[in-house]
């Protein structure tokens, strides 16, 4: 059996090019392995080989989705690979979205099998698990070895064109695909078995998990914006200079509530960002670039809005658990209601 040719996609950080300040790195391709590709290659034990690695900055990819997809696909095409692997992205949001986007695109346009890996809560997971194989990983690069261990066998199977079993057997995120099979017992018997277990308080496994949409209906529009009290909320981590409440730069365990009564403009003297997931330079120079206080104050003065609420709420979206963010918002939403806020502008990076 000939060696399976693989092209690997990674971001600027894992390529050793740099961190956030290099997140705008345009796509480039290098022969052979770079960074984590070494681990994947070692895992393949000669059955497959990474012939080239495509590297692209996370911000560049996410801010230029169509362009970047095209450029990367061109690069991949040249190598005529049998398999395409992206990441693993762990909990890095932009990286996860890039991995999901590019694997889906390669699968669609080049018709070759693809695989990627990321943490369950990575936004890329929800977005792409239905269309591509995503191996669940830990939430940080400390889980690299474990991730590679899970990705390699599935990658080899895909590269060889073998049949892929269930998510539990093969270690990938459920794709919502229903496969027909013949069960030993008939449906009614299985249903009764399940019911008896449930009544007895024993554990049972559902045959069809109900999808959890959790959509919230949009609220009615604001009737008169010139009389409305608008509140600002951000996940971009804008805090008073010095970050007095020590909101973490990643995996935030809290949110902040800060008073901007009488503040017309955020400056590098008064505010900064605590967020560790994007290049902080621009936000530190002028926090209005993430929390537009200056403009809202102008609009307030001109009577275009009723008023800007005196408090803003902030947290850091970087790697913060969905459950935590939900908890923060449920709490401060109550305060917003109590304070008579009519509408919220929530900014994210």
């Amino acid at each position: 059996m000939e060696k399976i040719r693989v092209v690997h996609y990674i971001n600027q950080f894992f390529a050793g090019i740099g961190g956030e300040e290099k997140a705008d790195h345009k796509p480039e391709v290098r022969e052979g392995v770079v960074g984590p590709g070494m681990a994947l290659n070692a895992g393949f034990k000669g059955e497959a080989e990474i012939v080239a690695t495509v590297i692209c900055g996370d911000s560049y990819f996410n801010e230029n989705l169509e362009e970047a997809k095209k450029e990367v696909i061109e690069m991949v095409k040249k190598y005529n690979p049998d398999l395409f692997i992206a990441g693993p992205a762990f909990n890095a949001g932009r990286y996860g979205v890039a991995c999901g986007t590019i694997t889906e695109a390669v699968q669609q346009e080049l018709g070759i099998p693809v695989i990627t890996g990321m943490y369950e809560e990575n936004p890329g997971a929800d977005m792409f698990k239905k269309s591509v194989y995503i191996v669940p990983t830990k939430n940080s690069a400390a889980g690299m070895r474990a991730a590679v261990k899970k990705m390699v066998p599935l990658a080899l199977k895909l590269g060889k064109g073998e049949e892929i079993g269930s998510p539990e057997e093969e270690n990938y995120m459920s794709r919502g695909i229903r496969k027909n099979y013949f069960a030993e017992k008939r449906g009614s018997a299985r249903a009764v078995d399940m019911l008896v277990k449930k009544l007895k308080g024993e554990e049972f496994v559902t045959e069809f998990p109900m999808p959890d949409f959790d959509r919230v209906e949009p609220n009615p529009a604001v009737k008169d914006i010139t009389k409305a009290k608008i509140a600002l909320v951000t996940s971009g981590g804008i805090v008073p200079k010095g970050n007095p409440d020590h909101i973490e730069s990643s995996s935030a365990s809290k949110y902040g509530k800060y008073d901007i009564e009488g503040v017309m403009n955020l400056t590098s003297e008064t505010h900064e960002t605590a967020h560790g997931g994007y290049d902080p330079v621009y936000a530190n120079e002028d926090a209005d670039r993430v929390l537009p206080v200056d403009v809202l104050r102008d609009l307030e003065k001109e009577g275009k809005i009723g008023s800007l609420h005196r408090y803003f709420y902030t947290t850091v979206g970087n790697g913060t658990a969905v459950a935590s963010a939900k908890g923060f918002a449920a709490e401060y939403a109550k305060e917003l209601v109590a304070d008579g806020v009519d509408a919220v502008i929530l900014t994210s990076t």
Partner: protein, 109 residues
């Protein structure tokens, strides 16, 4: 271990030779300590830095380990590290770092 430090360790090792380098780390808990120790012995386990795939096999110790603690002035140790020693999970850290060292360091002392 961050990329800058990985680079420094790599360069110092290339300059002075692995047998003449000891790495002393101060991570606040077991997992981080283990990662740093693994980085300078078996190679960067996250494959993100200059030591990805590079096995330096260096001698590495954590500041709370007896091998270090016993070699230094107890008063100075108490002053600088005493406080942290009380709040850190010292046993966990020692376990992590020692097991990495036993498995990956090339020197047997």
């Amino acid at each position: 271990m961050d990329l800058e430090n990985q680079k420094r360790v790599k360069e110092l090792t290339e300059k002075y030779g692995a047998e003449n380098v000891i790495v002393l780390i101060g991570a606040a808990e077991g997992e981080a300590a283990g990662l740093a120790a693994e980085t300078v012995t078996a190679g960067d386990p996250t494959f993100a830095g200059p030591l990805a795939g590079v096995q330096l096999g260096l001698r590495v110790y954590h500041a709370v380990e007896p091998e270090f603690k016993d070699e230094v002035d107890p008063e100075v140790y108490d002053e600088q590290i005493g406080m942290m020693e009380m709040v850190l999970d010292v046993d966990d850290i020692i376990d992590e770092v020692k097991s990495i060292r036993d498995e990956f360091t090339k020197f047997e002392d």
